[in-house]
Symmetry: none
Subunit: 359 residues, 4 copies
C-alpha cells in the first residue's frame, strides 16, 4: 500500500511531543509538510525529523492533491477555520482539543464534517488510554451498580501555561483551565458514562492568580517563559455542577490556586462500587463483598495513547471506521463547557433541556 501523505499544521509543543513522533512511528504515514506561521518552527521540524517541507501558509497544503490527511495543532482560535477549510479541500482532519473556542464553532465544524464526509477526529487522546477504556467497560458491565455522581477535580497549585501568551488570551484560546484541562476531564466522564445528554449546567469561572502578571509566583512553567507584556483574561479557577440524563457531575478545577495540593482525579460513584482515576495514571476500584470493604488496584500494560490515536486516524481513513474521537462524540462536551462560561457570566443556572439535541 502506498503511504498516506500527511501534513502537520502548527509545530508547537503538542505537535512535537505527540503528533509528529506518532506519524514518524506509523509505517503507513509520511509527513510531507510542516506548517507554522512562525516559519522557523516549521524549518526546525524539517531539520529535526529529516523529512517534509516547511511552509507558512496552510493553503499550500490544501492545494496539494497528494496530501490525504492533516493534523491541526494550532492555537484554538484557528481550529475551526483550518479544519473546515481542509475538509472542504478534501482532506481528513485530526484536530487537537478543544474542538474550538466555542460551541457554535464546534457545531459548524460538525456540520461541515457531515456535509463533506471527511474524517474529523478531535484530539481527545484519553479515549485511547488503556485504563480509561477498562473503566468504561466496567461501568457498561454494571460493575459499579447505578452510577449516580461523578466528582471531577483538576486542581493544581501553580500550572498556568505560557503566562501572557496564547494560552491566557481569551481571543486566542477561548478560555483557560476549563477549556484546556477541563475538556479532557469532562471528555473522560462523557466517554466512560456513555455520553449522557446534559440537562442543567451552573458554574463560576474566575480569572485571578495570573492577573498581576509580574507578581505571579511559580516554580516552573510549561509553554513559558512568561510574557509580561501579554494579556491574561482567562479562567484559572472554575467550579460547576451539571445534571445529565445519567449521573450528576461536580467540577472544581484550577490552573492555579492558593492551595498547595495537587488533586487531579475523577471519582465515579456507583451504589455497588466506585472508581478513583488519578488523571494520567492508575485507578483504584472500591467495592464491598462478604461484609468487607475492598480496595483493588488493577495493573495493565502501558500503551502510548497518542500513538493509538494517530494509528487509528490513519487506519480509519482507509477502513471508514468511526473512532471514539469523532467530532460527533465530543460535541456534548463543547456544549457543556460553553454553558459553564455562560452560567458564570449570567450568575445563574443554564437549562439545556430545551436547547435541543446536538445532531
Amino acid at each position: 500500500m502506498a503511504k498516506t501523505i500527511v501534513a502537520v499544521i502548527g509545530c508547537g509543543t503538542i505537535a512535537n511531543n505527540a503528533h509528529i513522533p506518532a506519524y514518524m512511528a506509523n509505517e503507513d504515514a509520511e509527513i510531507k509538510y510542516f506548517c507554522d506561521i512562525r516559519k522557523e518552527r516549521a524549518e526546525k521540524a524539517v531539520l529535526e525529523y529529516g523529512c517534509g517541507t516547511a511552509v507558512e501558509d496552510y493553503r499550500v497544503i490544501m492545494e496539494d492533491p497528494d496530501v490525504v490527511a492533516v493534523s491541526v495543532c494550532t492555537p484554538n482560535n484557528v481550529h475551526a477555520q483550518i479544519a473546515i477549510d481542509c475538509m472542504r479541500a478534501g482532506k481528513h482532519v485530526l484536530c487537537e482539543k478543544p474542538a474550538a473556542r466555542t460551541y457554535k464553532e464546534a457545531l459548524e465544524m460538525q456540520k461541515v464534517q457531515h456535509e463533506t464526509g471527511q474524517t474529523l477526529n478531535i484530539g481527545v487522546v484519553n479515549r485511547f488510554n488503556k485504563g480509561v477504556n477498562i473503566i468504561k467497560q466496567m461501568i457498561e458491565n454494571g460493575e459499579l451498580g447505578e452510577l449516580y455522581h461523578v466528582v471531577v477535580s483538576f486542581r493544581a497549585h501553580r500550572s498556568i501555561p505560557g503566562l501572557g501568551g496564547d494560552f491566557t488570551t481569551k481571543a486566542v484560546a477561548g478560555g483557560g483551565a476549563l477549556i484546556d484541562w477541563g475538556v479532557h476531564y469532562l471528555d473522560i466522564v462523557m466517554y466512560c458514562t456513555g455520553d449522557p445528554r446534559p440537562r442543567t449546567v451552573t458554574g463560576q469561572a474566575y480569572s485571578k492568580l495570573g492577573q498581576d502578571l509580574r507578581n505571579y509566583a511559580y516554580l516552573s512553567m510549561w509553554a513559558g517563559p512568561p510574557n509580561y507584556e501579554g494579556s491574561y483574561d482567562v479562567d484559572d479557577f472554575v467550579t460547576a455542577m451539571i445534571r445529565t440524563e445519567g449521573p450528576s457531575i461536580s467540577v472544581n478545577g484550577a490552573w492555579a490556586q492558593n492551595i498547595g495540593v495537587e488533586e487531579t482525579y475523577i471519582d465515579f460513584l456507583g451504589d455497588k462500587a466506585g472508581i478513583r482515576l488519578q488523571y494520567g495514571k492508575e485507578f483504584t476500584l472500591y467495592s464491598a463483598k462478604h461484609g468487607a470493604l475492598i480496595e483493588s488496584t488493577p495493573s495493565y500494560p502501558n500503551t502510548n495513547a497518542f500513538q493509538e490515536e494517530i494509528d487509528g486516524f490513519i487506519a480509519g481513513i482507509h477502513s471508514g471506521e468511526k473512532l471514539p474521537s469523532h467530532i460527533d462524540t465530543v460535541i456534548l462536551t463543547a456544549q457543556m463547557i460553553e454553558a459553564i462560561y455562560q452560567s458564570s457570566d449570567e450568575g445563574r443556572e443554564v437549562s439545556l433541556v430545551e436547547a435541543g439535541a446536538p445532531a
Copy 2:
C-alpha cells in the same frame, strides 16, 4: 452569685460527650434535671454524674421556676417544639445543631426568640474553635486578599450513624449527611466569611449506600448498632454549588461512598492566599512572597470548644451578650440547606434573591 440552674433535655451521645461534662465543669451552673423519653438514659445520667433528677417529660422542666436554662439534645424533629416551648416558659435555650429539620421551623424558632427575648443559641460549636477563629480573623484582616471561592468537602468512606435509627429517618432528622455534617461545614464557611447572603443554590442529594440495610458493609458505626428493621430515607451523598454575595461555594459530602479516601476539609481560595482547614484539626496557609510559594502551618493551644460554648451560654444569660451561635447567625445556613434539598427535588437551581432576607 447563686448558681444557674439548668436542665438537659435528651441524654444521648452529644449530651454525654459535650453538654453535661461542660456544665459539670462550669462553676456557675448546676444541673437540676436530666430528661429523656427513654427514662433509663436520664436515670443513668443521674447515677453517673451524681446530681439532678431524672424525668421523662420536659414539661416538668418548663414548669419548674428554678430552671433558668436548658440544653436541647434531642433528635432534630423535636428541636423546634421544645426550644419554642421552653422559651415561652421563660427559659434560656441552647439547642443542638441543626436548629431544626426545615428552614420554616428554624424561622419559627427565631420568631419566638425575638418575641420572648430569651436566649436561643444553636450548637454550632465550631464558632468556639480556636483555629476557626484565627481563620476568620485572617480573612477579615484581608490576609487572603479577595476571597472568591470556598471548596467544601465532607466525604467519608463509611460513616453512616445509627443505620436504621433516628439519624437515617427523614421524618426525625430532616435529612442525612447534609443536615448532620454539612451544617457544620457551611456554618464555618458562613462564620469565617462574614455571613454573606446566598443568591442561588443548586444541588443533588442521593440516598444510596444504606438502602440495602443488611448489606451495608462498614468497619465501625457511631450511634449504632444498626437497626435492620428501621428506615433509611436520608441523603448519604450530596453535591451543591452556591452563589452568595461573597464567595461562591462548592460542596461534596458523603456519609458513605464507594471511594475509600476520607477528605474532610474546607478550602478558602483568596487571590493573595488560601487556607485548607482540615475539619476538627489544624489548618494550612498557602501564600507567596519574595517570589516564593510559602506553606505555613500554625499551631495554637487546644481549647475545648464545647466548654467555651457552654461557658459562653451561661455567662451570656447574665451579661446579655449575643454570642456568635445566636439563632440569628445560623438562619442563613438553614436556608441554604433547605434550598439544596429543594433544588435536588426539582432538578433545577433555586434563586434566593427574591426570597427576601431572613429577619
Copy 3:
C-alpha cells in the same frame, strides 16, 4: 559583541562540575585554555568539551593577551599566587573558595585587587542561591525582628574528602572541615546578616578520625579514593563561638564524627521569627501570629547558582558591577576562620576588636 575569552586553571572536581559547564552555557564566554599541572586532566577536558587547548603552566595564559578572565580551581595553596599573578597580568579572576589558606594571603589578594582594579571574585556560590537571597531579604526587611544569634551546624558522620590527599594536607589546603565547609556556612551567615564585623572568636579544632588512615571506616568518599601513604593533619571537627557587631554565632562542624546523624543547617534566631536553612536545600520560617505558632515552608524556582555566579562574573567584567562575591565581602570570613584556628592553638579566645578593620 565578541566573546569573552576565558581560561580554567585547575581541572578537578569543581571545574568539571561547575565552572566549565557554566562557561559552556554562557553565550558570551569562550574557553581558550584548560590548565592543570596534571596535564592529562587538561587534555581530557579539551576532548570532553570540544574546545580549547590543554596547558600545564598557567603562565601561558598570563601571557596570552586574548585571555580576559580566568577561573582558579586549583588546591587552596596556590589560590593566592595564581590569582595575584593573573591580576597583575591584566586578567579578571574568579577564584574558588576559600580565598586562600590564611587571612594574610587573602589580604594580599585583596591588596592586589585594589591596586590593579581587576575583578577578583571568590567562589562563595551560595550568594547566588535563591533561598539564601530570600533569607537575606527577610532579615533586611525586619521580618525576624532583632536577630540575636545564629547556630551553625555542619556535622556529617563520614565525609572526609580524598583522605591522604590535598584536602587533608594542611600545607596544601590550609585546614579541613572549617576551611572547606565552614567557609560556606560562615559566608552565608555574613551575607544574610549584612557582614557584621567580628569582635571575639574562640574555638577548638580537632584532627581525629582520619589520623589512623587505614582504619578510617566510611561508606563513600568524594575526591577519593584514599591515599594511605598521604598525610592527614587537618581538622575533622571544629567548635567555635563568635561575637560580632551583630548576632553572636555558635559553630559545630564535622567532616567526620562518631555520631551517625547528619545535621547541616543554619538557624537564624530573631525575636520575632526564626529561620532554619537546610544547607543546599529548602528553609523553614518559624513565627507567631494571632496567638498561634506558625511554621512556613517557602518553595521557589530552583536556579543554578553556579551558572549565575559565572554569568555574573562575565557580565560584571563588562559592566563593572561589583558582585556580592567580591573579595572585599569575603575577607571577614577569612579573618574569622584564621582566628578560630589561632584560638584553638592558643587555647583561649582571640579578640578582633583591636585587630583593626580589614580594608
Copy 4:
C-alpha cells in the same frame, strides 16, 4: 530500725512530683512536716498524703529534734539560706538543683557542709539515671577512645515555665534556661567525664522571647499560667563554649526560640566511638568495626531516678556513704554557669585557670 523523720520544705511541683512520693515509697522514711510559705500548699499536702503537719516557717523544723533530714524544694533564691540553716541545726539536707543562684552561694553551702559534716546532696537526679550511669562506665572503660568534645543541646520551641513568676524572675531564680535546664545537662557531662576542671568559659545569654509577656505565643505552659503583671529578666537562650582539662564543651540551649524543632541531647565525641544521649530517654552508640559503621541502641530496665536519689539519701545518712550528688561534685557546674553569665555580661571569655580550684 526506727524510721528516719524527714521534712519537705517547699511544696510545689518538684516536691509533689518527686520528693514526696519517693519518701512515701521509702520504708525507712517518715514525713513529719510539710512546709510552705503559702500555707495552703502545705495543708493540701497533709490532706493528700495523709501524714505530717503543715507549717509555714521552716524554723519549726530546724527546732524539732525529731527531724533528721530535710528536702529543700523552694525557689532557688532561698536554697542556700535554708540549706545552711538546716545543716547548722544538725539536719541532713537534700537540696533541689541548682545548688544556688550563684557560685558564691554554692561555695558558702559547701563550706558549711564541710564544717558541720552534715550530708548536703543536690538534686542532680540524672546521676541516678540508669542510662547515664552506663555511659559513664563506657567512657571510663575507654570504649569511646579519647573523648575530645561534648555537644550539649537543650533547645525547645516554647517551654518557658511560669511566665512572669519565680522561674522568670532573676532575683528569685538566679537565671533562666541555663540555670534551670542547663544545670542538668552540664551536670551529666561532668558526671560522665569524671568532673574535669574548667579552664576557659565564653558565652552569651539572651532574654528575648518572653519580654513581651502578653504576646508570648505558646501551646502549653508548665508551672503556669502566665502572670502578665510579673517580671521577665532571665535568659531564654544561651550559647557557650567551654574548655576543660578534659573535653571541650559547646552549649546551645533555649527555653524558647523561633526554631520549631526540639533538640535536647548530649553528644559525646570520642575518636573510637561516640554517644548521643536523648535527654531523659535512650542513648545510641556509634562506632566502627571490621570496616563497618555500627549504630547500637542499648535497652535496660527503666528505674525511677528520683526514687533512687531519695533512697540513697536516706541510706547514706546512716551509712555515711558519699553519693555522686554530694555538694562537692556539683560545685564545678555552679562555677561554669556563673562564668557563662559573667562572660555574657562582659562580652569576653573568662579564664578559670587562675581562679583557683574549688575545694
